[in-house]
């Protein structure tokens, strides 16, 4: 399957769940609203032709001047097709998204890291705690307004 076929398949099957698609420099990009995230991710994994079964990465990008402020970005690989897809979900400050651990178990730590670094909550996550920073750390270091040095005293 090539990039266009992936996008066509998604648009043909679940056009009601997605908010938009684009080709991207490297991989097809799908924009999804957070209400439909789990349903869409389940489709990606369980659809026989697409079969995006290996979760590569979950991360976020902070755009402080934009509303909603964050993009949660998922990279998912299909072992069968040798293709990757990027799924983007916009999330506002102080909000959260549904955890995808029910679809790919491996998202557990990746989501914890996003929570730790950006303060984005993942609902129904089995164990949402800070992972790299200490538990009583008050800040979210990868937000753009967190300085490189000099936050305390």
């Amino acid at each position: 399957m090539n990039r266009q076929e992936i996008i066509d398949r998604i648009q043909g099957k679940v056009s009601s769940l997605i908010a938009g698609t684009s080709q991207g420099i490297d991989y097809p990009v799908v924009y999804v609203n957070k209400e439909h995230l789990i349903e869409f991710m389940k489709f990606l994994k369980e659809d026989e032709e697409l079969s995006f079964d290996l979760i590569s990465d979950v991360t976020a990008v902070d755009y402080p001047d934009r509303n909603p402020r964050f993009d949660v970005v998922y990279h998912i690989f299909s072992i069968k097709n040798g293709q990757r897809i990027r799924v983007k979900v916009p999330v506002g400050d102080g909000e959260g998204v549904e955890s995808v651990t029910s679809v790919w178990r491996g998202a557990e730590w990746l989501e914890r890291e996003v929570y730790d670094m950006f303060g984005i909550t993942f609902y129904n996550h089995p164990d949402l705690r800070r992972i790299l920073m200490e538990e009583d750390f008050k800040y979210y270091p990868l937000r753009k307004d967190f300085p490189l040095e000099g936050i305390e005293e």
Binding site: G24, I25, D26, Y27, D53, L54, I55, S56, D57, T59, V61, D62, V73, H75, I79, G82, R84, R86, W104, R105, G106, A107, E108, W109, L110, E113, M117, I131, L132, M133, E134, P141, L142, F146, L148
Partner: protein, 395 residues
């Protein structure tokens, strides 16, 4: 510390690490024990967190190369390559053929070196002391070769955006040839020491089993995934640097236990040697850097003798270049699994967001699942078998 359970069962909570020889760095495992049986493992990481992703947003694309050396410091060359490929994809840079072959040679050498380090230290964990010396003897030769081309042994920063830093010479090729010709015999040595060793088998077989289905579900990559029987390698699935032109097998395990992971890695060393032999056979002539003036450094001799080249060099080094806007994700098959870089560019000389996807991080997250109900001694074997480096996990 003991926690009062009901009267017959008492659970003990034990800290393993952060200073423990078997954790290969600063990792803490919080163990819930019932006697010798591990009821629950909670890995606690972050002791080596240096904020590489944050730093990356505040340094130029050129400066970030040196951070990648320090992720998985046993596989610096591969990290360099993954980062360089991501930026090249973003800028649409075509790397010259000669540089691509040199990259393959370096990363395959690095794979062997990383697996040797793993084999030596893993055998040490299990209690076999002498393997360590054999493995480090050969690893030393690879590090010597790295020193020849880059002047560094552990943090070479050799593969850079647009190509490689210096050309290889006859002395390097001579050393490489000697290494390739003799290496398979050395692998036989390790196998003689371990593969049929009854203690080794007793300690590794049926320990920390991960089925193929579970491995994929947990997002595990690299030798751990292949040991579970999934024939999957990014060098085959999404070829880069011309890997589609090399012949090599992807070793897979049958059961997904520690012993399979050992076998897979040993066979991978042989396959890497096979790739090396093909790569060194005919290395094409030509430049080692792409001619992309805004990001790829001009050759050093020109910088010294030509004012134009000097100005170009200065512009790149001082970070006054601009990168096309966009976002890319690029990943390669590192010795430990998939190392991916997700770079968002806003058009300036610094990445807007530089995300590093670490395979060790995801592989370690599957450890509690793998080790449920095993013995404490088996936990050491399981932890060693997934081959983690905390530099890459904590970033």
């Amino acid at each position: 510390m003991t926690v009062e359970g009901n009267e017959t069962r008492k659970e003990m909570i034990l800290n393993m690490g952060p200073q423990h020889p078997a954790t290969h760095g600063v990792l803490r495992l919080l163990l819930h024990l019932e006697g010798e049986v591990v009821k629950k493992t909670i890995p606690i990481i972050g002791y080596l967190h240096r904020g590489v992703e944050k730093l990356g947003e505040n340094r130029t694309y050129i400066q970030n190369i040196v951070f990648t050396d320090r992720l998985d410091y046993t596989a610096s060359m591969s990290n360099n390559l993954s980062y360089a490929l991501a930026v090249e994809k973003l800028c649409g840079i075509e790397v010259p053929e000669r540089a691509r072959v040199i990259r393959v040679i370096m990363t395959e050498l690095q794979r062997i070196a990383a697996h040797l380090l793993w084999l030596g230290t893993y055998a040490l964990d299990i209690g076999a002391m002498s393997v360590f010396f054999y493995c480090f003897r050969e690893r030393e030769k690879i590090l010597d070769m790295f020193e020849m081309v880059s002047g560094q042994r552990l943090t070479p920063s050799y593969i850079c955006i647009g190509g490689v830093r210096r050309d290889i010479d006859d002395k390097f090729l001579e050393a490489l040839k000697v290494f390739c010709d003799t290496f398979n015999d050395y692998v036989k040595d390790y196998e003689n020491l371990l593969t049929k060793n009854p203690i080794w088998i007793e300690r590794l077989k049926d320990v920390a089993v991960l089925s193929a289905e579970d491995a994929i579900n947990w997002g595990v990559t690299g030798p751990v995934l292949r040991a579970s029987g999934v024939k999957f390698d990014f060098r085959r699935a999404t070829p880069y640097c011309g890997y589609e032109n090399y012949e090599f097998d992807i070793p897979v395990g049958t059961k997904g236990d520690c012993y399979d992971r050992y076998l897979v890695r040993v066979e991978e060393m042989r396959q890497s040697n096979r790739i090396l032999k093909q790569a060194m056979k005919d290395i094409p002539d030509g430049p080692i850097m792409a001619d992309v003036p805004f990001i790829a450094f001009p050759p050093k001799d020109q910088v010294m003798n030509n004012i134009e080249a000097l100005i170009k060099h200065f512009k790149i080094a001082s970070g006054t270049f601009q990168i096309p806007k966009g976002e890319v994700y690029s990943s390669i098959e590192n010795p430990k699994g998939e190392l991916g870089f997700y770079i968002v560019s806003d058009g300036s000389s610094k990445p807007y967001r530089m995300r590093i996807k670490s395979s060790c991080f995801v592989n370690l997250s599957a450890l509690p699942f793998m080790t449920q109900g095993c013995l404490v001694a088996d936990l050491i074997a399981a932890l060693g078998s997934i081959d983690i480096v905390l530099g890459e996990i904590d970033r």
